[in-house]
Amino acid sequence: MLSKRFALIVGGTIGGLGAVVSITPPQFGNSGGLSPNATPAAPAAATSSAPAQSSTAPAATPATPAPAQSSATTSPAQTTKSAGASGTFTGDVAQTRFGPVQVKITVSNGRITNVTAPQYPTESFRDQQINAQAIPWLEQETIQAQSANIQGVGGASYTSEGFYQSLVSALSKAGM
């Protein structure tokens, strides 16, 4: 009788695990947040498919913010946005308790198309593991919000705060 009930428990476990895995397949092949453009396992990742070519995209856009900014002022409003800035803008480095955070955004016609974090705390292995989860989430949140109006990530509140500060500075450089 006990072994039968044990089998039921194991069956239930496999069922529960199987159900979740079949609905949202885990991203084992993905190297997590350690590579900047990796998407988190959350299903919402699909919405940020736009910057899929992003690793090559920044090279194509003007490297320095200054001309982009000027071009933005000279060619106003074809899109719904009033100012259609384009270019790559790097935010100031924000110092957090666990280390520096820096955000780089790619803007095309006033839309944030790509967000990366060239710097974030990786001092300890623990930081790496936390930020491997947090950074992709913050990047994705920014693309969805199209502003600095992001929630941040519970469990990585210092990184989130630093990310926010640097993002605000990058956005202001982009004139957004």
Binding site: R5, F6, L8, I9, V10, G11, G12, T13, I14, G15, G16, L17, G18, A19, V20, V21, T24, P26, Q27, F28, G29, N30, S31, G32, G33, L34, A38, P40, A41, A42, F98, S124, F125, R126, Q128, Q129, I130, A132, Q133, A134, P136, W137, V153, G154, G155, A156, S157
Partner: protein, 457 residues
């Protein structure tokens, strides 16, 4: 004397009827499904970096250990949360047994979590494990609380270990054990704030929060709100206290609508007397008589620090209770012949059970005590003998004089092999009689045991 017919008919013992078995099966499936979802939290949030290298694998394992350990801890609490349909369908005794099986696993897993997380991160950072554990404690949020929780859980584990438990009073054990609730709550925040399976995974976080809140709500409702409400409604108060023997007292309580509690002889309640020195700790004691009108009686031997003082309970003292619990009841008997075996103060539930056995059944009571003055309920038992023909066998003397082997029991009860057996007393006696009954060919389903050391201490 229907023994021949009943032996020929194959039947299900009443306490594990078909419905009950299905419910227990469903509970097992549900337990498994929850475990699957819990493991999925980690699996879903894993990425390739989590298994590239020995140390990431160690930290991944540590997280699985933590999740499963916490899940087992929550399930362990819910099992003993006195949820009526679970109590009815699985049975309190079995729930406690499951709780006792699950508890150690929860502790081992959480222990492994601490060990492995320290080892894994220390390896990644190239420092010693001790340094890493210290760093984590000071650097990350809610880690000090998590450390406290870990210590509390270890304390609860050690004090519940059989040999340690036997050395301490019920009050000490209970107090340390009750801290586990706090420990589990304290551990929660460090999980959701630093666990990679929760960071950036709101769905995981909601699931985990729902699990904790659900468990908390169930415990609050069934272990606090409802018992308090029922205690107030039944308005139970100490009526009088009498001395039954050396260090043995009976407490008679009176309430309102006591019959509605549907308590049966052989069952127990968890009692809490609202008098200084008694109300902090609840004690489980069996009824020593079937409830009559609005009266209930318990009989307690001076074993813990608390029970010695019960003699001083003042009439009128309010009593809070949880219960009735237990499936050690006469209704379970499927045989026409019932053999009750008591050791020392283990007589109490059997004395109450005697009130409930229906009159078509034959009764033998073997009552073993080490000395004459320990015999209690002498008059009541003799009255039962006279009134309904129960055969009472007083066995006064040492264990060696009354070895309780199958052969020895058969001297008093020749038809032992075809009876329903109820035994209550110290663990040694209960185990001895259990073996004897099996030796005599009695199937497990017809042997009902109650170790009073576990709940009537």
């Amino acid at each position: 004397m229907s023994s021949h017919q009943t032996r020929a008919v194959s039947h299900l013992p009443r306490h594990e009827g078909i419905g009950q078995r299905y419910n227990a099966d469903w509970a097992a499936i549900l337990l498994g499904a929850g475990l699957g979802l819990t493991i999925a939290l980690e699996v879903e949030s894993m990425s390739a970096s989590d298994w590239h290298g020995v140390y990431p694998v160690i930290t991944s394992l540590s997280r699985i250990a933590a999740l499963v350990g916490s899940y087992f801890a929550l399930v362990g609490l819910v099992l003993v949360a006195r949820i009526p349909w679970i109590e009815r369908s699985v049975g309190h005794d079995r729930l406690v047994r499951w709780h006792r099986k699950l508890g150690p696993w929860s502790l081992y897993l959480i222990f492994f979590h601490v060990l492995l997380v320290g080892l894994g991160y220390a390896g990644g950072d190239r420092v010693s494990t001790i340094v890493e554990l210290w760093r984590m404690t000071v650097k990350y949020p809610w880690m000090i609380e998590a450390d406290i929780a870990f210590v509390l859980m270890i304390a609860a584990g050690i004090t519940s270990y059989k040999k340690a438990r036997a050395k301490m009073s019920y009050e000490t054990w209970w107090t340390i054990h009750a801290m586990t609730y706090g420990a589990i709550a304290l551990g929660f925040m460090h999980q959701v704030l630093t666990g990679p399976m929760f960071i950036g995974h709101p769905l995981n976080k909601y699931f985990w929060l729902a699990l904790y809140l659900g468990a908390g709500a169930v415990i609050l409702l069934w272990r606090i709100v409802i018992p308090v409400a029922r205690s107030l409604r039944h308005d139970l108060k100490v009526d009088h206290v009498t001395v039954e023997g050396p260090g043995i007292v009976s407490i008679v309580m009176r309430g309102r609508h006591v019959a509605k509690l549907r308590a049966q002889g052989g069952q127990f309640f968890s009692w809490r007397f609202l008098q200084r020195g008694h109300f902090l700790v609840a004690h489980p004691y069996s009824l020593s008589a079937a409830p009559q009108q609005d009266y209930m009686r318990i009989t307690v031997k001076d074993l813990g620090d608390h029970s010695a003082d019960l003699i001083n309970l003042k009439p009128g003292t309010r009593v809070f209770f949880e219960g009735p619990y237990g499936t050690f009841v006469a209704g379970k008997a499927s045989r026409g012949h019932i053999v009750l075996i008591a050791g020392g103060v283990g007589i109490t539930p059997l004395r109450a059970l005697l009130d409930e056995v229906d009159h078509t059944k034959e009764i033998d009571l073997l009552y073993r005590v080490s000395s004459e003055e320990e015999l209690i309920f002498h008059k009541e038992l003799d009255a039962a003998a006279a009134y309904r023909g129960a055969r009472i066998h007083y066995l006064v003397g040492s264990r060696r004089e009354h070895p309780m082997t199958a052969a020895y029991i058969q001297k008093f009860v020749p038809a032992f092999a075809d009876s329903e057996v109820y035994v209550c007393g110290p663990t040694a006696l209960v185990e001895r009689v259990f073996r004897s009954a099996k030796d005599a060919g009695i199937p497990k389903t017809r042997i009902h045991t109650e170790e009073f050391e576990f709940h009537a201490l």
